[in-house]
Subunit: 173 residues, 2 copies
């Protein structure tokens, strides 16, 4: 939550550790609210319509766009910005649901391929329109084209700055 507002009483301008301006605080607070509410909203929408959380759905989408609807585990984790551990658990569940299956990687015997099944693809096709509509209603239908552009630009900047960082994200450094 707007963790920035926390300026512990000391309004001494001398030892100021560079707090946020009014404008920045407001933006940060709004960002926190928006992300929290949006994530919840989409999670519910997908839980209802596709019986899975948003992250899992995103994995299926990524697979559906990959060359032969298959991807190496690590690559999938990278693109989805999640840890490999999390992906392992997630794929395990998606496998149970029948949307994904695994296969050994021919070229590297350590490797695993996550593959979107036909059932998974069908399910995606059915739930995609509803999901797009939800995103549209919550975000893009409320923004001007100009704002969409600005928003994208800001998010790209933030994401880029964070890329080469992280703890268990060992594919980086």
């Amino acid at each position: 939550m707007d963790a920035m507002t926390n300026r512990p009483a000391s309004d001494d301008p001398a030892e100021d550790p560079h707090w946020l301006t009014e404008e920045e605080q407001a933006a940060w607070r709004a960002y926190m609210h928006a992300t929290r509410l949006l994530e919840d909203h989409l999670d519910r929408q997908l839980q209802r319509d596709a019986e899975m959380p948003h992250v899992y759905y995103g994995l299926l989408v990524q697979l559906s766009e990959a060359p032969r609807r298959r991807m190496r585990m690590t690559e999938l984790a990278q693109q989805a910005k999640i840890t490999r551990s999390r992906l392992s658990h997630a794929v395990a569940r998606l496998e149970k649901n029948g949307w994904v299956r695994r296969e050994e990687c021919p070229s590297d015997k350590r490797g695993q391929l996550a593959i979107l099944t036909d059932a998974g693809y069908t399910m995606l096709s059915r739930s995609a329109p509803g999901h797009v509509a939800a995103v549209r209603a919550a975000v893009f239908d409320r923004l001007t084209p100009e704002q969409v552009k600005q928003f994208g630009e800001v998010c790209r900047t933030i994401a880029t700055g964070l890329e080469p960082e992280g703890a268990d994200l060992p594919w980086l450094r």
Copy 2:
């Protein structure tokens, strides 16, 4: 994850359920990446420096800003945009850590007050500068003042649109 890109092969312009434009897709993808990476980043930063996840930290901040550093549970949940259930669990843990304590509400015996302890306040004071610095480095130092303004505006729009909605968020509707 960029769940939108999922356009199941049908490029038939006739039954188009209103997909996203290129620009929108790009923005959405960037948003997903940014939020995921940022949340992870801040979670780690706070786990390291304050030994608690970002959401919990936010709760303490909210309390620190409240009138007598105390707030009704429901009000806190509302402002933090989380469910009351989640808050119950969270406060339970924060209590164990000694940062928060509870007190009965004088006016409504059903009610509980969550109160930031002195220990909690001290801890906040110590970790706030580091946290602000992290947010600054990840977000605001990378944006122009103009972008901060735009970003805030967009987030406010999204958050506002999502406010009167939700399932177990019974304080709404």
